[in-house]
């Protein structure tokens, strides 16, 4: 960390939230709901998951109260920032029959709030940058995504522990956030280290009671983050494209398909997956129709439906599509692997299929 790292007492978090609110931000933060950590509106630090840690394994996610005073000792919940910028479902335009028989199209306008998200992880930021590449490329910027993205202020929390499902160290995306945040926090035993990367971030922290962090505090942060980097899972290598594309006929795809529910939970929780379908919602009178888009998945039948045929009717081809795209052809499309090592697809797969296990098996020719 650089020298402009400051120390903030834990109680100062409340002032941070208050500052955000008075600067006009809607403050989104981690909280416990229905047995998981979710991001939602927050105004009081008492609503943060104090003392909570997440125990994750393939197909399993449990929260545990440790009784300590840490706000950010958990790793992640089912969703990263994706739903805040890429809505699970939203109308994009509507179409109306005019009296003269012509069709009139109208874009759905959205109004966007300034939003600050507290507790964002390094992998979440990496995923957001990947989604930027998809939604904000050159000429075809997605306006809905762009408008929401522009208004985001990101307050990162460096991971001081890893879940058993994490492998960001292997993708190079964590556990420490290096870019993309406005403010970063590293939680120590009795305070937080604060760092900023933007003017907006500076503006938010300028009235906090900060002092320059000591060498000991910096060392404590380093050692915690280094510990978090000791992870149980890893990818066989950075670029798996050639390996995967040489295995298109492997019998393992069918073996996975026997276990896979083709349910799409993995792609829905994946912070980089961006596939969606577009659907028409006609009003009963047949005069108006609303065109909506919604999260879709390469695991659904309609995802590969093209005038009369379903290209990937069997699960083995759907799973192969997910893996070969995410870990293979993303390299051509976006210049890097589509995975940031958050481990969500492992924990939230109802039957506990583990991408790292499958990829290693393919790489080792098993």
């Amino acid at each position: 960390m650089t020298s402009n790292v400051n120390f903030l007492a834990k109680a100062g978090l409340q002032t941070l939230i208050d500052n955000l609110v008075s600067l006009g931000y809607e403050c989104i933060g981690p909280q416990v709901r229905d047995h998981a950590i979710v991001y939602d509106v927050i105004t009081n630090i008492a609503d943060l998951p104090v003392g909570i840690i997440d125990i994750q394994s393939p197909g399993q996610y449990r929260l545990e109260q440790t009784g300590d005073k840490n706000y950010f000792r958990w790793n992640n919940g089912p969703q990263a920032i994706k739903p805040l910028v890429f809505k699970p479902e939203e109308p994009i335009w509507s179409c109306q029959k005019s009296p003269d028989g012509n069709l009139r199209f109208e874009k759905n306008m959205i109004s966007v709030k300034k939003r600050a998200v507290i507790g964002v992880r390094a992998c979440d930021i990496a995923a957001l940058f990947l989604q930027d590449k998809h939604f904000l490329h050159d000429h075809n910027k997605d306006e809905y995504y762009r408008d929401r993205r522009q208004e985001l202020l990101l307050i990162a929390a460096n991971c001081t522990k890893s879940a058993a499902t994490c492998f960001c160290n292997s993708t190079g995306d964590g556990p420490r956030a290096h870019y993309g945040y406005d403010i970063s926090l590293t939680e120590l035993a009795d305070g937080l280290l604060v760092h900023t990367l933007s003017e907006q971030g500076e503006n938010v922290i300028k009235e906090l009671e900060l002092r320059t962090a000591s060498q000991e505090e910096l060392a404590e942060a380093d050692s915690l983050i280094n510990e978090a980097a000791e992870q149980q899972r890893s990818l066989p290598s950075h670029n798996l494209k050639d390996m995967l594309f040489s295995k298109l006929k492997d019998a393992r795809w069918q073996q996975i398909a026997e276990r896979c529910l083709s349910c799409g939970n993995c792609t829905s929780v994946c912070p980089t997956c961006f596939c969606h379908s577009e659907n028409e919602k006609p009003a009963m009178n047949g005069e108006v129709s609303q065109h909506t888009r919604q999260w879709d998945s390469c695991f659904s039948q309609e995802h590969s439906y093209i005038h009369g045929i379903t290209i990937r009717s069997e699960t083995q081809y759907r799973y192969r599509q997910w893996l070969t795209h995410k870990f293979g052809s993303w390299h051509d499309q976006y210049g890097r692997c589509g995975c940031v090592g958050c481990g969500r697809c492992i924990s939230w797969c109802p039957v506990g299929i583990d991408v790292t296990e499958e990829l290693n098996a393919f790489a080792n020719g098993a």
Partner: protein, 258 residues
């Protein structure tokens, strides 16, 4: 001339017909777009009228039902089943596993007045069906889509994706992953709005099988959670017990149980 529509009832609870009656303002619109010639629950009664679309609620459980559905089929251009009963035989298809000769006299004082078949079966087993809408009860929203699409002369478009997709779009927290609940969502068709997981309980498959349902992988997972074969059989042998894939999965576990 407005398209003529009939809504018929067989063995059922009437809940799917309520999907029409609960349509609110859209019901008024429907009444201006079509002529409702037979819909006993709503008023008009003319069971033998010729119609463009006949909606069928309920399963076939009596000899009289068999005659009736044949007549309806002859009198309509399109036949659409609504709900688990008409589409899969309904909850009452559980009787297909029981011996009617034995239990009917145990329940009814004068069993000679009961004239019923040994089985409860879906409409498809008796006549050609043009479209099947699943659900127990069906969703008003989906019913309106089917009707609207038909009025627009297009094949009704209802996605057969899994409940999980809807559940995740609603940002519900997975009850299987966080609580080890035996959720049927991964093998069940979406359309309900993922209501049950939305309130923290497991889906019980009232919308019937989704496309590409891997019932065996799910049942194996339930077993891994500690459920016994008889518990697993009950998950599949419920509202849509007679739906082909659920029935087959239950039979597999029933063989293990023996």
């Amino acid at each position: 001339m407005k398209p003529r529509v009939a809504v018929h009832k067989f063995a059922s609870c009437d809940g799917c017909q309520l999907a029409f009656l609960n349509a609110g303002e859209d019901l008024l619109t429907i009444s201006t777009l079509v002529e409702l010639v037979h819909f006993a629950e709503a008023g008009p009664v003319d069971p033998d009228a010729r119609v463009d679309i006949a909606f069928i609620e309920g399963s076939i459980t009596t000899p009289h039902d068999i005659d009736r559905i044949q007549r309806i089929r002859k009198n309509c251009k399109y036949l659409v089943t609504i709900g688990a009963c008409a589409t899969a035989g309904g909850l009452q298809a559980l009787r297909n596993y029981a011996n009617a000769e034995q239990w009917v006299p145990e329940i009814y004082a004068q069993p000679e007045y009961i004239q019923s078949l040994d089985t409860s079966t879906p409409i498809r087993d008796h006549v050609d069906v043009d479209f099947e809408l699943w659900g127990c009860p069906i969703s008003t929203q989906q019913l309106l889509v089917v009707l609207r699409d038909m009025l627009s002369n297009i094949k009704p478009h209802i996605r057969q994706e899994k409940v999980c997709m809807e559940c995740k779009r609603n940002q519900n927290i997975c009850v299987m992953v966080t609580q080890g609940s035996p959720c049927m969502g991964p093998v069940t068709q979406a359309g309900c709005g993922a209501i049950c997981p939305g309130v923290g309980r497991d889906c019980y498959a009232c919308f019937g099988p989704s496309e590409n349902a891997n019932t065996t992988a799910l049942a194996n997972r339930f077993e891994g959670f500690g459920f016994l074969p008889q518990d697993i059989i009950r998950r599949f042998r419920f509202i849509n017990n007679n739906a082909t894939v659920y029935k087959a999965e239950a039979e597999k576990w029933s063989a293990k149980n023996d």
